[in-house]
Symmetry: D2
Subunit: 467 residues, 4 copies
């Protein structure tokens, strides 16, 4: 009989080029741990349900554990001919334990087995990622806390808009990455469901106990429909969607670090350990890490498109096309984890150039809004006040000066409502502290946001210590 | 002063081509209802907080409601010159109530206003979509219930694999669209947050009450960081991600309806009312609705890519690029709603050709698995049993017959374990009923799945009747 | 008989919701001109081949021309019930000329008709786009010519790298948009093929003369396989691919204009006519046009993904899914044309702040490469020279000065090879002029590049005046 | 001094995690051959221009050739610490030839070096792909030639439409893959341009001879603008666009092979050597190769999206983000090549089930169009004839028979124009042969198309034998 699991009705051997083309062992061998874990649980259940003997189960489990050790120690041969990790393990198991090995596949199929493995893998990967994001979110909050006094320009349209606390800016990213974490957690609910027991597509004829397997493997539920269970890859796409949004956030943060480390901005110095130089220009120090992270955004978006495309229009249930889910999934997950990790390392090492940030707040008419608010507070309709402040800006620009450098007479030429108290209002610090509504940039607000973040991080840590 | 909200410092008028290029009024006018709703809530809050007078508030609200009526009755002029729906409404408000109109913008900016409008709109759209999906899921369950006796081939790799209940197949799609619904509900948690009060990016200097506005508008929370609040479009991408998965499901179902209505399959007849003919071939009846739905998958995937691309690498906070979120969002949401609606209409009208489905189960060696299981139950290791059944299939194929048409001696030539009782086991009905583990295709299982679905639909209906 | 073209075998009318769902008239009515044009050519050919009478042909053509006038004058009613533009025109033709109208469809089908219309449309659109790109490329060259003396920093990694001519930078974009133009021209070869005469999919039984129709319509060839001709949408995807690359170029240029108009760079002032202000911050002047263009990149990429997705896995020949090609095609083409147009208007109006650009060249150690080259020219291996210049940079940075501000003794402490002549070499102007190999930034090179560009523009103009 | 090329101004070493994160050696080591080739040409030119000595050049070239041998024999150590293949080779060169190695980098930079390598690689890959496509196109034509008599139903909307020759269907794919080949050839014009000599971004100060390098390396031109030359990745995206269209074609063909090898169609048998079985269902034979190819479409579309996303909004010139071009490019090119190869192997081995195909033509009213044409030829306006044939189809369907099985009286009840000669016209063979206009399915036409294809293949072979 052929080595293949399915050789019985075949009269020709598989073409070697086809074996190489269709083999996925280079990719899916990294599932070995979860494949062994799933098989052990399946095996324990078969024994509990008296479908196989207790001693047979023990033999199988010992064999599986030996294989795991062999793989981890590097002493395991991978061959295209054996297609995938599932076949490799089963084939080796037969070498170790003999014909009992053939009982392991009772009541299951590769279709539900591969779905189980990939869910186990993605559950672990999601938790690892949540752990990584937790560290990075903490790094953001810690940095916000330690830099609470630093003022910088807030931008819209990359034009200086209003002064803000640098810590407020950091906490904006904390919000984004917190949403990311919660999105991954929502996805976990749909990943963490056991498909095993669905067999090829219609369920199994053996009296198996799926809940017991779910308990052993820590799944929170079992799939309700066997056809769906073997043809569902939604959870992969949902993960890739969340990963894409998270990479989009990294691309924004990276863009800003690239801008900020330019000569023109000079807000931040990326330490030498996180930069590279130029092979031709000796003076260069390049923000390689943010650039690479920004560039890797493409790969993660591409992976999302890849799996959506692959799944489009596939009839139920399993189709071989679905083997193509793994390269994009693994690549996107690895890429995102690497980006989270490198940012968590780099962030505390960034040198913030506070004097330059604060200097940038002094110019650019960022107090024009507050002049308008001042006028509005004195009874001028807001739109009129806005127009009046705009005219003052134009006047000052033509004079090549700033609003707070105009004298009181010049200012009063725009409105009689302006009085000496205006000068106190037009300082960056005053502008920041007056934005004290919930969510605004005042120091008090930002300190409270930091406090809430610490509480949320403590709460979110709970999901990370689940079994 | 210029008509523009921001003309004060400008010495030149906007170029007419620029006005046409940058105007979004053709697109965002459909936000008028939510813009008015948000402005009324903002206005009530300003009065409650004594930032404007109660009488001023009433004047503004009357004006806003008049504008809503004007727009709904078609008596409202839209002009490129006025850029967007927010400007149109404010401009008209000034015509109606005079200079008081200018007070409405106190304590807010277009940046937080537009973020509020789009969240209100998407919240309503999500609920409408959930309602539509609820109807369609019910249509699937009802059809499963009314067709409980119908048998068909289950496929993997588009090869006949094992007999299943047609109702089990329908319930697989019920599972998919239920996950879709829950994914949209998860997204709703992140949509339903009030950004208003974040002003341009740093918060406002006015003593506003954001919680009060959130209550008036039915938001479940207020945003915690003003910079994030005006630059966040995650909720749009998350919606488009969920919409893409849902369309992927429709593409699979559509693919099957196209296959099934072919001459070759003949499993289903799409009624004339849902088909079209050919301008040149009089005999043709084309499955246009499933084809169009399958084709529209592309547009929704494209919209997801569009917004991800647009948001990539944007520095904080608001950038004008973000105006480009609306065309893809509106197009994808409209497309998905239309697909849900047309499927809900079409499904109950499908004519299921049960005899053809059942005929297809008789051939194709679909009972080979059960022959293997039979041997395994008699003690043969499963892999060996599988090989043995495979050989029987090959033998039967060469004889151009089916397994259950072989006589007992022929069958026993493959294994002595085979006895007369085998013939009862090899009927499609017996094969179906023996797959009675949770999630399998047996009638009992499927009836229970239908019962659970009715309960879940009742529960999920609760979210639809929220205020 | 039903109004539908294909009603004969149908016993039920189309559901109204289905009509609304499947109607494409809102989208494809813009093909009216090309549909009429194609029909007239088809009609002339039918008469030439004596398939219809000459008088019938004249009647049909008069009718078609009347319809074109009706549509252009706004006096034409569009109805979902009549599906698409082809049906509308045929239906109206029957009203105008009576039963002769029914002869127009002899020897063709909607499948080859729609393929013809869309090719005619895209051929015109491609030529219009080539015309637009021609103007914009000329605007870039003219600007390069008029600003030939302006020096600016060249960047890599957004770090100042080496001084360049601003004109050299502009000519880099000239190269990109020239490649775009040539890519669209290459695509045109595959667009400009006549599919008419392929009928539904198998060809027609009438003795038609396809070459004559191709001549009348200006096609350069006729399709060689009728099945391919009605199922091919490659030319649309190829166009969208070229459009995506072109928009990517605009996104890069826009990114730079946004950066350059920031306070931090200050290299360029976008005139008021091409900017907008803020509704809340009176001092703001936002680079809306570049931002919008950059944002629109998403839509074009999304359109490419949309059509690729729609076409994936479609069996031959025509499927209704393919109706979904038009929304993304039209949207992407319109978007790109609008971007080309607005940039062509905006570019000559940009105010280049040459003193700021030149000031930026004085700092940042941009002459370090030339110091290394100087040492290498004196015999030091380049890598060693590079290291030596790097150390000089580090020394100068610690002293907070520039390389050319060090005195000769300080410089010589890094290498004895340095002599007084070094100071002439370290000026930006000298650095620029020494890069005089083909393609480099020296003034002579750039002037030659401008000359070549004018010649190329003259040559490329020829394609625009083709019939 | 640090091992890094750019260590001079750096006071800290690179963090090891950063080295691992930013290293691309795992990916770009496959460029080694082209890097060596490019360096040798650069070296020869430096000697020719007397920038280095002839003996130095010979030393360098010997060293480079030794490195190539070391890499090809497996005796070369790759280290994250050395970043990329360029650094690895330079570092090893210094070990072999000592300090002369440092002269190799004279007049070039990593920016133009990497651009050169990737162009050389993609030029070779494109030619390899063109060779592969040439074989596959030939396989299609050969199959068309050897199956010229086989009749099958042509489909639109997956409904049987009109009888066609199977060879005509195959030639439709020949057209598609021929367009693909020509698209890759067009792209080659833009790949095959030498960027070397652009240095970092501004050109070089050395008196190099770029045309000489271009000649040595077989480039057809040199880049005209140094900034563009180092920041251009258009040619990669263009390649990925062409690859995506080509994969879309494979997805269509694969879809059809999957359909055709189903029990329901039964048109084709994929030989055992190109199929796999099921681990649980012994009777299964799955069309794995077409499924995998169809599934891989996702990865290629994803790669296109990846590079478009990465390049979006990058300011000029080189940015480190661009390192991310290689993973998607290599993956897509390898995937496409593997698909072309496996299809070229599989196609000749397909077993065409001609009797089943021809049987499928007998039913489904595929002669309805010809009945309409018959009536039209006798003077009935086509639209009326179409309606009349539609009514005949409805009548026959209700009687559960076919049109050609109705008797003459029944047929005449639909129109008096029908006479006995109708029966000859309604056979599939007659229908096919009457479609004899250029591009139609008649045998004569298809034979001519095959002849044209052979000529075209001979002509296209010329590009494959270029140096």
């Amino acid at each position: 009989m052929s080595e293949k699991l399915w050789g019985g009705r075949f009269s020709e051997n598989t073409d070697a080029a086809v074996e190489a083309f269709s083999s996925s062992i280079d990719i899916d061998k990294r599932l070995y741990h979860h494949d062994v874990e799933g098989s052990i649980a399946h095996c324990r259940m078969l024994a509990k349900c008296e479908i196989i003997g207790q001693d047979e189960a023990e033999t199988l489990i010992r064999g599986l554990e030996q294989i795991r050790v062999e793989i981890e120690s590097g002493g395991f041969a991978f061959l295209d001919r054996l297609e995938d990790i599932h076949m490799h393990i089963e084939h080796r198991l037969a070498e170790i334990v003999g014909s009992t090995a053939r009982k392991l596949h009772t009541g299951r199929s590769r279709n539900d087995q591969v779905a189980t493995d990939i869910r186990l893998w993605l559950r672990d990967m999601t938790r690892q990622l949540l752990g990584g994001l937790h560290h990075f979110r903490k790094a953001l909050v810690d940095m916000a806390e330690s830099h609470i006094g630093v003022i910088m320009p807030g931008y819209t349209h990359l034009q200086r808009a209003q002064p803000i606390l640098f810590s407020h800016y950091l906490m904006a990213y904390y919000e984004m990455f917190t949403r990311d974490a919660h999105r991954f957690e929502d996805g976990l609910k749909r990943i963490n469901i056991l498909p095993l027991g669905s067999a090829a597509l219609a369920g199994t004829t053996y009296p198996i106990d799926r809940d017991y397997v779910a308990d052993l493997l820590g799944f929170i539920g079992v799939s309700g429909n066997s056809i769906d269970a073997v043809s569902d890859r939604d959870f992969i796409i949902e993960f890739l969607g969340a990963a894409s949004i998270c990479m989009m956030h990294f691309s924004r943060l990276s863009e800003e670090l690239v801008l900020w480390s330019s000569s023109e901005f000079g807000f931040v110095v990326i330490p030498d350990a996180f930069s590279t130089g130029s092979s031709i220009m000796p003076q260069k120090k390049n923000p390689d890490v943010p650039e690479l992270v920004r560039g890797k955004t493409g790969r993660v978006f591409g992976s999302l498109v890849a799996v959506l495309t692959t799944m489009k229009s596939l009839p139920l249930a399993y189709n071989r096309d679905m083997q193509e889910d793994k390269v994009p999934l693994f690549d996107a997950a690895d890429t995102l984890c690497a980006c989270v990790d490198i940012y968590t390392r780099m962030f505390p090492a960034l040198k913030i150039n506070a004097p330059v940030m604060e200097g940038a707040v002094q110019t650019g008419y960022m107090n024009a809004t507050d002049l308008a608010d001042y006028l509005a507070a004195k009874g001028m309709p807001f739109r009129e006040a806005h127009g009046c402040a705009g005219e003052a800006v134009r006047y000052a620009m033509e004079k090549n000066t700033e609003l707070h450098e105009l004298d009181i007479d010049e200012l009063r030429s725009f409105s009689d409502l302006i009085q000496e108290d205006i000068f106190n209002l037009l300082t960056p610090r005053a502008m920041i502290e007056r934005r004290c509504c919930f969510g605004g940039t005042s120091t008090g607000n930002v300190l409270e946001a930091i406090k809430r973040a610490h509480e949320q991080l403590a709460e979110d840590a709970l999901i990370l210590i689940e079994p």
